[in-house]
Symmetry: C2
Subunit: 710 residues, 2 copies
Amino acid sequence: MKHPVPGGLREEEEERVLVSEQSWRPCPKARRRLRGCLEWVKQQLFRVGEDWYFLFILGVLMAIISFMMDLLIFRLYEAHRWLYQEVGDVLVLKYLSWTMYPIVMATFSTGFSQSITPHSVGSGIPELKTILTGVVLEDYLAIKNFGAKVVGLTCTLAAGSTVFLGKVGSFVHLSTMVAVYLGKMRTSGDFILPPKTWSYEQPPMLVAAQAVGVASVFGAPISGVLFSIEVMSSHFAVRDYWRGFFAATCGAFMFRLLAVFNSEQETIAAIFKSDLKIDFPFDLLETFFFAILGAVCGLLACAYLFCQRWLLAAVRENRLTAKLLATDKPVYTALVVLLLASITFPPGLGQLMASRLTMKEYLITLFDNRTWGLLVPNASSLADPPSKDPWGLWQEWCHPSATIFGTLAFFLMMKFWMLILATTLPLPAGYFMPIFVYGAAIGRLLGETVALLFPEGIRSEGALHPVVPGGYALAGAAAFSGSVTHSISTALLVCEATGHLSHVLPVILAVLVANAITQKHQPSFYDGTIIVKKLPYLPRIRSRHMASYQVVVEEFMERRVVALAKGSGFEEVLAALDTSADAEYPVLESAGGMWGTGGVTGTGGDITGLVPILQGHPRWWAPSAEPTGTLGDNCAIEPIMLQLSPWTSLHQAHHLFELLRLQRIFVTRFGELVGAVSRAERLNPPKSVPSPRPCTKVSPYCPPLIIIST
Amino acid sequence: MKHPVPGGLREEEEERVLVSEQSWRPCPKARRRLRGCLEWVKQQLFRVGEDWYFLFILGVLMAIISFMMDLLIFRLYEAHRWLYQEVGDVLVLKYLSWTMYPIVMATFSTGFSQSITPHSVGSGIPELKTILTGVVLEDYLAIKNFGAKVVGLTCTLAAGSTVFLGKVGSFVHLSTMVAVYLGKMRTSGDFILPPKTWSYEQPPMLVAAQAVGVASVFGAPISGVLFSIEVMSSHFAVRDYWRGFFAATCGAFMFRLLAVFNSEQETIAAIFKSDLKIDFPFDLLETFFFAILGAVCGLLACAYLFCQRWLLAAVRENRLTAKLLATDKPVYTALVVLLLASITFPPGLGQLMASRLTMKEYLITLFDNRTWGLLVPNASSLADPPSKDPWGLWQEWCHPSATIFGTLAFFLMMKFWMLILATTLPLPAGYFMPIFVYGAAIGRLLGETVALLFPEGIRSEGALHPVVPGGYALAGAAAFSGSVTHSISTALLVCEATGHLSHVLPVILAVLVANAITQKHQPSFYDGTIIVKKLPYLPRIRSRHMASYQVVVEEFMERRVVALAKGSGFEEVLAALDTSADAEYPVLESAGGMWGTGGVTGTGGDITGLVPILQGHPRWWAPSAEPTGTLGDNCAIEPIMLQLSPWTSLHQAHHLFELLRLQRIFVTRFGELVGAVSRAERLNPPKSVPSPRPCTKVSPYCPPLIIIST
């Protein structure tokens, strides 16, 4: 104590020097060490190229938005319910209050989102799917769509179960927009991924964003990732798996956490928590009924997909509706919602389809663990407002003159076309939730029927266990939504959303059966929309005929390719731009002296960014100035990465297009450019594939490609 | 009735003609219609190229094998337990019966499997991973390994928790062997996939088979698919998703079904069914402890992976063990198992590590929903045989002179190195299950500690809910096994295996934290084994430095490529075969007259199957006969599909190798073959990537490629 270490002395002196600034901060040594530690932790966590904090922000942000939107929608819905109760027993007033509210909401949603940007309309998943295949849709992911979509979606959902639309798809779109915006902010920092690598590899952020979209709606992290992969991508890099999981977990966690903070739940739990019996979930013999349920869902999904595509096309072709949709979208929305709302009017047909329930209440009632056929409803339930008590909610499904079988069947019959009609509305919405509810109703109906047929349970030996119709509702929801979207992970989604895992095997069984039927006969909901909207689309080669494996690139490649010589100047580039509207041109290097069919020596690369250079370079635009530079000198020529040979097979080329997200690839023969294959060419051959090889018909390498040179 | 339809008459007449043969079959018309129907159904279901029945057979077969093996292992284990009880209280006899049995089993397993085929040793997952990247490992998937592996694995597992090994990995290998065998049987039918497409696309059957392997062990279909994808592949085609799901569902269903038939369970339920409280699974503040658990698991996984790789290499390098492993594998096994068994001897150290429990009982006890710290054990438990009652099993963890904290900590400490030692044993085994159990023990210890710290529960406001240590055990199992294997889907696996979903969010949180730590510092268990075993392996480019994006193919490609001219005959082909051991040679087409550096015109294609043609063609082997044919005439030259250009970047080339499962790709410059890139080249550049671009050092295109021509 009496002989302090000299180092300590010097430090003390230093401290004395700094005492005027830091006298109010104790323990300078400990602080310095702590600061060093923090610096190290920061270095470890925020390393260049790491993006977990970005994913974290994305997940939390989307969860907050989702929760806030749910809260707002709930308040708006409560207001509607209050209004409907307050107008008293005058039927006209009741009718007006029932119909006007959703009409106003939906019309405002249409008008508002359309007036800001037409990109905010619809679910957005078909467009995102197209973007993920490598197509650039300008402005589709711009942040300016965000506000329009959020406000529009809130209004759409506030219109309630009358319009019968959901929020999953739109949330995926919103989440992707946020991710792209955050990504732009991030790349203004020190790390920029080279553009070409980005275009070949799957943008990992987009996949994570889609997972967040699903997870923050259902609070289901694992199935969020899986569903978004299944619906969006054709190939998936396992390397990017954790991003999706991390972001989705953050989103789901935050979403459930907010529910706890808002005192909706005591702790983190499933969103549609069901109390299905866990001791004896289902008997073995019931798997047979689950398979039948899967088949029913598959067939109904086929019918639904066919009708949906037909109506979507019909609405666009019909003169009246086409005109309305072109000029007066809000009027179209108002008319359709008026029709839908009139049918769901509770004192009218609505009483047969439990129309006073919200989407969430629909699901909670359908996943109920009781057997409705065995319950006795209160007679006076119809006059009352819907019960606040979740146990009493199911009474909405009861009607004095119809059994619950009648109401469920009527619900299914009416909602089938109402659902399809609602998908034609030009407003921001998701189309997954209604399908999910519809499937749950199918399952419930079948489950109640089975429970009616075997009131004592199925098992012949041992103890009898009653049938649980709620399990069928789970399976129906998963099977119908899975087959409409061509995905299997809805089986897990239903488990995560209800927190109930013991039915997982029969649920997967039903989903697989339903998918087997639908995938064979109809494109998925999203593919169907892509077809109707005529978005760029790489169809699958469905033919497994051996002849299709013999079709080679040279039979369907485009031979008319506009190419530039490396030595070409301003005029040639201008001529090339006049001749074609390609995004990039191959640049040929002249090694021999003559251009033509014979002695051309090779390809050099593509010019991306030819146009900006043309515009930006003053010499190009001043005709008086001498165009001194050539293409090779002035433009950034990007080397070509891949070339196909004319003997590459159709299947191989297709696989490459799908895998590498290509738009266009050049075909070379002995180094000579002979053609190009783009998505447009790729679209056609599959139709004519099963025909025998038309090799002899095509004369080789004529008409030749156009080469622009001096 | 009096004027029957003429058609009907004629049919009746026909029937009368056939009456002699078919008189004993009623309703010919209905039967005919039924037969037509069945024919149609058959056509629909068994269409050419469809393979669901194949997947079904695969799933069911593997489930039966898995179940039968479990049954047999249980019987063998019971026999051991009986023997151990029957020898009475003589300590030497007890010791001998405890140690001899596993030694005999493990030694037999080693000797038997080694004597039949060395390929049956180990888990097989590292080798499968290598095969999935496109490398051909001869005979590794041959069906003759099957028997050896099944018998060996049964004996290994019958040695019980002394050896502490599992069956997951081996089952994946078994399942893949069956799939390949079934696939061979199937392709003898009418549908053969062209070989080249097969090699570029991911073999869908293999992925499905791996999913079946996991699913038929855990009865967990969804996580089976996900886990096998994460562990095995780098990219996944969503198109093949359903195959995995379908096969895994069949496997899991059958596996659980057999348990019901065997009266082990009343109906289909989770394999390690736990009765964790579902009302209030965990408090929000507990997520903090789950994150800590994840960090602990991650750090321990790092230590485990490091030590495991070190020991695996050390055993191979140490003179004594290397000699034993080379010549007397059974002796090595016997010695190691003797050591392990001596330590787990129940009257010795074994009483501190609950060594009388089986692997399954370990899991059941660790996932117990009670808080062990609050239970009072029977004093006399150690002398008794382990309780048959699952509720009493936990008493194995109690010791009069140590608390359960002591036994758990001792278990963790000892098993750490025993586990690592066991992985060096040369016998068929899986290494996932021990990791899983170890993780569960980590979680249990931390959970019990938290329960001790907060005996009244954590929540400060509202009702107090006690801590559930079983939830921590779930999270620990998922986090530790996930971080050792670098996979996230163990979070779902743990839920599916226990049928308990309400802890899913904290479990994923722990898994993500653990993975974040381990993936940064250690290669996964399987990658580590691949490195130690020196299997072909495509490392990830870990550098995100911008300079690494500027490295192009021409800097690291192999310039010495042996090529053949299209016109070359027998001597040239022989010379090429002498010069190099390539699997395929590029064939050049001569358009100019001179071969050399200048006027070479182009590449033609590869010859696969050059060697068989050489062998099969009599003219090639009879030196007296005139070699009239040229390469172009006699051999099937497969057209080249893809060519790289010298300016393709390292990242792009790596991506292509990974995505297309390439082994070797040729590089052309203006159509001229200038080099090749194969995995050997691809292995080296990543190490030197961060250095500045060494472009100028490399002289372009010298040493030139070797072209063999007449």
